[in-house]
Subunit: 346 residues, 2 copies
DNA sequence: CTTAGCACTCCGATGTGCTAAGTGCTAAAA
DNA sequence: TTTTAGCACTTAGCACATCGGAGTGCTAAG
């Protein structure tokens, strides 16, 4: 168990180090502490904290720096989330205070805002409704041989894609396909839709069109879009500032990671707690082992849950960041609830 | 006027420097030249070339490096475009050899290919048809209060956007609006459409809807999308490799430039010649004054002209790059002509 | 338990010497 | 007149030494 003074020292070291990035020496530390002891005493304490694995040195005669464990302890026991600055809150609200036409726009904007407020890289994920249902499907002829397929799900998502119809397909056949899809699939959950697409639907469509695969591919494609295009990244460039690793190779891999939504899904996961802080090698993905990740869910009532996250250096000012993420998630949830209220039938 | 030997030396220096990036000294140079002279002779020649401003030194006793003027001379008089490697040609064709659903996809893919082939950053611009005509306009109800607006132009461009209809608007009014737009605007050039949107249309629509501004904004928004979403960037990350300026500030500004299509339009311009090479400060934009830009148009017959470009270091291997850009532009043009052939009515 | 004092360590800045690669110049050779 | 060998000179880059400052651990006394 840690003594009160040890706690105080650990806390002070984390805060000083996250502020100016310099290893903290005993002299500098003693001048900041509210107690009156000599630097030698501090040195003894720091040595025991180091013995417990909470601090470490960058070289044999350097000041102390928190270890991963030290950050962990600080975050779990010492930290109190900062109240978010009112100017920040105003910025958030102002950015939400415009007319958005799609959920995606709001969530994308959120990633940008969050990255600006933190100067780090931010991720946002649209709310996922596990049992989202297919609400509507349209095929709109565009002239020539092109048709746009539009798919609407009951969580408000709209996806579309244009495609070219082979010349030998009869317009009536297309009508029939639309009818089949609307009769058979609308109202089902996406999982059920995928299921039926593999089984009964191809047979039914086959009665009208010789090669139903083309159509089904398009349909499946749009469905998948709806399932995967949920991730937004803001402040990619900030990575260049806070990343210590200046070798181009790992920076590249990081950027590739950010463009790959399935990898992002792995990294972000679905945090069970409300706000999760992962530090250094606690993050499962090896590329991120020198960074810290703060993840939080936001809850849009019956419209599911989404995720927001920020990625920064392990030496980030956790209390400010956690406060910010906490405030942001409630603002975002509120905004989305408003949005759904506007588009839903009453 | 330059002597033959001076030309030979200039050419060799540019080629050696663009190959390995090291300043070229008289000894190294003499060993590469087909003529039998001593290094002292070369030194004298290099001194005169430097006097003419075609070469420069990085420090008082360093080897020579081409100046902007030297590159210019090389590109204008000495260079012969490389025949593109057959393996590269195969890669290009393979990447085009799939079914694309939209022109934008082809052009975007081109930016990626071009950046991969060159290891630089590549830009592509969709063909622009100055007098593109509005070919169709659709409003598709999506359920709830949402409607998708779709706009098709006769150069094959499709743009869409969903929006929310105020509750108090009558479905018949929407029908009327669609009719008006189709009667009055379809078939006109985009410029004419913009014109009418400011004048007669609001009055006509005003008969059916109290606040026509909302509708017109949406319509105008989609129109603008069609006009501005023409730029694609590939290989952004390559910039990290070939950029000498490692200060984060200027890298940031460059990335911002790349995300700003109107700035890109300025930089790329509309090259009058077929392939234009701009070196260093010849590029109008100051951020790019340490790079070189190779721009080329491609011609899709009656469907307009587009632009492709690569951005790399001033010390790029020009002959290979120019050969590549030349080949790529014809491949891309061919592919797009095919595409239009497929979607157009025959 | 605390503290002053001291020996010790390491980083970083500064400076030195050396080498390799290159230059310009000169005077002789072609 | 052009070319060349030779030589003095310059510079970057590297290895190496030096030294002050910031920090530590340890010890012995308070």
């Amino acid at each position: 168990m840690l003594t009160d003074r040890e706690l105080m020292i650990l806390k002070a070291i984390v805060q000083m180090y996250t502020n100016d990035g310099q290893p903290v020496g005993s002299k500098a530390l003693v001048s900041q502490l509210p107690i009156n002891v000599s630097s030698a005493t501090i040195r003894n304490e720091m040595a025991t904290l180091e013995g417990m694995g909470l601090l470490k040195k960058t070289h044999s005669s350097s000041g102390r720096v928190p270890s991963i464990l030290g950050y962990r302890y600080y975050v779990d026991h010492l930290l109190k989330p900062d109240k978010v600055q009112s100017s920040d809150l105003r910025r958030i609200r102002a950015s939400f205070n415009q007319q958005f036409q799609e959920i995606g726009d709001i969530v994308a904007k959120s990633a940008d805002m969050l990255s600006q407020l933190t100067s780090y890289t931010a991720f946002t994920v649209k709310p996922e409704l596990k049992d989202a249902k297919l609400e509507g499907f349209r095929l709109v002829p565009l002239g020539g041989h092109r048709v746009m397929a539009i798919l609407v799900t009951d969580n408000g998502d709209v996806q579309n894609r244009t495609f070219t119809v082979p010349r030998n397909v009869d317009p009536e056949a297309i009508e029939a396909v639309i009818r089949i899809i609307n009769d058979e699939l609308v109202g089902l959950t996406l999982a059920e839709v995928f299921q039926k697409l593999k089984t009964s639907i191809p047979i039914q469509i086959g009665k009208y069109i010789e090669t139903p695969e083309g159509f089904l591919d398009v349909f499946e494609d749009v469905l998948k879009k709806s399932a995967t295009e949920r991730f937004y990244v803001g402040g990619r460039l900030n990575l260049l500032d806070f990343s210590k690793q200046h070798d181009p190779g790992s920076i590249r891999s990081l950027y590739q990671l950010m463009n790959h939504s399935s990898d992002l899904a792995d990294v972000l996961g679905s945090p069970d707690q409300n706000i999760r802080v992962q530090i250094g090698n606690e993050i499962t993905n090896n590329l991120l082992k020198n960074y810290s990740l703060i993840t939080a869910t936001y809850d849009v009532d019956q419209h599911g849950k989404g995720v927001i996250a920020i990625l920064g250096p392990t030496s980030m000012p956790y209390s400010r960041m956690i406060g910010l993420v906490g405030a942001f998630r409630t603002e975002l949830a509120r905004r989305l609830i408003d949005y759904y209220h506007d588009i839903d039938d009453i």
